[in-house]
């Protein structure tokens, strides 16, 4: 009996100790990781906060940090799928080694979902890589605003490369630039020029009515005007955000900021009701066939487009390679234009693309800054290799205007330079608002009796719910 009691006591102690160890360990690592990160961020914030403009802030980082560091290993984690001779995992470490033989850059590339999970785990345990990929504003699980708010991102105000970059508001949190990004991403309408010619459409539509006329002409010729992979509901954003730029942001650029203060609402007349109605018109008139597209995935829709089965599709610059590929319809000529506004004064949904941030708990912050400055200087070997991937649309630097597919994107960059470009809506919303919009819109076009008013009030409810903490 006594032995049993001793064993049960031991078991109980083991349980208590393991639980306490678990709690203590979690708390400890959390405390060490997070507080270290926060202290570091706070320290950096202090040094950056004094400058009037972020890029011209008083204290500069040590530009000789790498040269004086001895042999070091800098870690980096990005999302995506590594390809042959991948830029991040193969070319970049080799080029960095060539420039600084004492630096080993270890890059981990993970598929998106794995990346988000891994990032959260590493941040929570204080084991985050030195350089990470972050999204502008509130977009996604690696949104720079959320990461900066938690104190995980080091301010980059003293990077020399920032002087080259376009409006960095979308990656600036609390007066600190927290992401280094040189490129933009575009949403637009890819179209098949051969079908346009066959239907007698000689120019890209300049107004919404002209766009509808073009769709009708294509439909009359027996082609499907627009194909979308609505089974993957996120593609609804590709069209809706373009219309939102024209019909909402062009009239009130502060609309999303005001949503947070309560000065505007999704339910306001002439805002999202207009956007949703305009997009729904494409379904009602059969220009997008919901009976087909609701069962079609995003990649299947791309295949339909390159196979010449539809004249247009709304998609992003990030899918250009797939959309410009040769399908069963051969190598027909393709064009790209923004969905025109009702008034004809068209804007574009062109925003800063994801970029690179430095973990505030890193012991190599200055070294990482020196590396990023070299990478994004607009002329280095790393910069040229980065541009040659064709994955970014650079707004500055050598080779920006000769990068792959630049001609296709040039009109959008021009609109950006004219100040007629706005962020993608979901970047300014708490993550999840767009999912409600997509669900309800799918219900509407799928004949479930959902109305535009249901969608706008659903979006408003979700928005308020997500902000309510």
């Amino acid at each position: 009996m006594k032995a049993k009691k001793v064993v049960s006591l031991l078991c109980a102690s083991a349980m208590a100790v393991s639980m306490l160890a678990g709690c203590g360990g979690g708390g400890g690592s959390e405390a060490s990781g997070t507080s270290e990160a926060k202290e570091s961020a706070a320290g950096a914030e202090d040094s950056a906060g004094s400058g009037a403009a972020p890029a011209a802030s008083g204290e500069a980082y040590n530009h000789e940090a790498i040269e004086n560091a001895g042999d070091i290993t800098i870690t980096m984690m990005v999302s995506g799928v590594a390809s042959d001779n991948d830029f991040e995992t193969e070319q970049l470490p080799a080029l960095v080694k060539e420039k600084w033989p004492n630096v080993t850059l270890e890059v981990t590339k993970l598929p998106d979902d794995n990346y988000y999970t891994s990032l959260k785990t590493k941040l929570a345990s204080g084991e985050c890589p030195d350089i990470i990929l972050a999204q502008p504003m509130y977009a996604g699980s690696n949104a720079c605003y959320a990461l900066a708010d938690a104190g995980y991102l080091a301010p980059l105000n003293d990077l020399d490369a920032l002087g080259n970059m376009k409006d960095l508001a979308a990656v600036t949190y609390d007066n600190n630039v927290v992401v280094c990004t040189a490129g933009v991403s575009i949403l637009g309408t890819y179209y098949n020029k051969a079908i346009f010619d066959e239907c007698g459409i000689t120019a890209e539509p300049a107004t919404w009515d002209e766009f509808l006329d073009a769709c009708q002409k294509i439909k009359d010729k027996g082609y499907q005007p627009i194909v979308m992979g609505d089974k993957d509901m996120y593609v609804l954003q590709f069209g809706l955000y373009q219309i939102a730029c024209n019909e909402i942001y062009a009239k009130n650029a502060e609309y999303d900021d005001q949503l947070r203060t309560g000065d505007t609402k999704f339910t306001d007349e002439g805002t999202w009701d207009t956007v949703l109605s305009m997009y729904n018109e494409l379904y009602e008139k059969g220009y997008i066939d919901a009976s087909q597209t609701l069962g079609l995935g995003a990649s299947q829709a791309i295949t339909e487009f390159v196979d010449g089965k539809a004249a247009m599709t709304f998609d992003g610059s990030f899918n250009a390679t797939a959309l410009l590929a040769e399908g069963s319809a051969g190598a027909f000529e393709r064009g790209y234009f923004p969905i025109p506004s009702a008034s004809g004064d068209t804007c574009t949904a062109t925003c800063l693309s994801a970029g690179y941030s430095i973990y505030s708990g890193s012991q190599y912050i200055d070294e990482c800054k020196e590396l990023l400055d070299y990478w994004f200087d607009g002329s280095s070997d790393v910069w040229k290799a980065y541009l040659a991937t064709g994955k970014i649309i650079a707004t500055y630097g050598e080779g920006a205007d000769s990068s792959p597919n630049y001609e296709l994107f040039a009109p959008f960059v021009e609109l950006l330079n004219q100040g007629k470009a706005y962020h993608w809506c979901n970047q300014a919303w708490p993550a999840g608002t767009e999912s409600t919009m997509e669900e309800l819109f799918s219900e509407m076009v799928g004949g479930q009796g959902t109305t535009v008013e249901d969608i706008t009030s659903g979006m408003q409810d979700k928005f308020e719910d997500l902000l309510d903490e």
Binding site: M1, A3, K4, V6, V7, L10, C11, A14, M15, S18, M19, A21, G22, C23, G26, E30, T34, D113, Y116, T117, K120, L123, A124, S141, A146, L147, D149, A150, Y152, D230, K231, D232, M233, Y234, A290, S291, Q292, T293, L294, G295, L296, G297, Q300, P430, A431, G432, S435, E438, E439, L440, S442, E443, G446, G447, Q448, T450, D461, D465, L466, E469
Partner: protein
């Protein structure tokens, strides 16, 4: 008196094989169980009363607000409804098909091994591969089924099971059945092979038809196998996530959002880890309740049979 041998206490462990010292060997396994299972589950309860967003550890306690919220906006009811429908379809079809094929492949036929292998083949693929293949099988207009329908003169363009609010859930449940019936069949085969041939012979001598032999001899004798298969399928059905995620992303609308998918969405899209934890706690109890009820019901049936 002093030299009198010590009396053994009543109930003392005198086993030479499993003495008290053996309990020490439980400690590593127990520690792993506590650290890797009990502690995370307790943490789930802990996070469910916070507003943790998965990133910022500077979170607050919000009491039972997360629980009220999931009941408030109807997401829980919708996902429970979808999950139950999915589970019912997969349990019934998996077991009927699995049992039918197991009985067929338990007879003396040529190429029995080959057929058994073929029937089990889908179970070898990962859900990702199966889901991806089936999106092309179901693809509207140019998918495999649509093409077959067109070949037979039917309207293949109208076939769009994943794009239809009424059929999408059943379409993905069929994929689950296609992948899972092989495993169910293997368990039934094992059960059927335990049925004593002499009982079947006795039945035949008494003039039983094959149907009577199946209904009155084989099925009662494999009732525990039926229980195992039904319970395993119920649990798998209630934990459905893969095909909603891979094939429909919860859509169209909310029509294929299961409990697990909803939890994933709240945690990783909405970044409401606290609310997702509350959802998980509720789901945990829903699944436990249903499983216990099923186990009770099936055991009772076993006794009756």
């Amino acid at each position: 008196m002093a030299n009198e041998p010590k009396k053994k206490r009543k109930g003392a462990n005198t086993s030479l094989v499993f003495n008290n010292r053996m309990y020490y060997f439980l400690i590593p396994a127990l520690a792993m169980f506590l650290i890797l299972w009990v502690y995370p589950v307790l943490q789930l309860f802990y996070y469910s009363i916070t507003d943790f967003n998965g990133i910022n550890y500077d979170f607050d306690f919000v009491g039972f607000k997360n629980y009220f919220k999931i009941f408030e906006n109807g997401t829980l009811i919708n996902s429970i409804g979808n999950t139950l429908s999915y589970a019912v379809v997969t349990v019934i079809l998996s077991n009927l098909i699995g049992l039918g094929i197991a009985m067929a492949l338990n007879t003396k036929i040529h190429f029995k091994g080959l057929f058994r292998t073929c029937a089990y083949f889908p179970a070898l693929f990962s859900a990702i591969v199966v889901g991806f293949i089936w999106t092309y099988v179901y693809m509207p207009s140019s998918g495999m089924i649509a093409n077959l329908l067109s070949m037979f003169g039917l309207d293949g363009t109208a076939f769009n099971p994943l794009g239809n609010f009424r059929t999408a859930l059943f379409a993905i449940a069929i994929v689950e059945v296609w992948k899972a019936f092989g495993s169910t069949m293997i368990i039934y085969l094992a059960g059927l092979q335990t049925v004593d041939e002499s009982l079947l012979e006795a039945g035949r001598i008494d003039g039983c038809t094959e149907w009577q032999l199946t209904r009155l001899v084989k099925l009662p004798l494999i009732s525990s196998t039926i229980t195992i298969n039904v319970i395993l399928n119920v649990i798998a059905g209630l934990k459905a996530f893969d095909y909603s995620f891979i094939m429909t992303n919860g859509g169209p609308g909310k029509s294929t959002k299961t409990l697990m998918f909803q939890i994933y969405e709240i945690a990783f899209d909405d970044q409401k880890m606290g609310r997702a934890s509350a959802f998980s706690v509720v789901s945990f109890f829903v699944i436990i309740l249903i499983t216990v009820f099923m186990l009770y019901f099936m055991n009772k049936r076993e006794v009756e049979l």
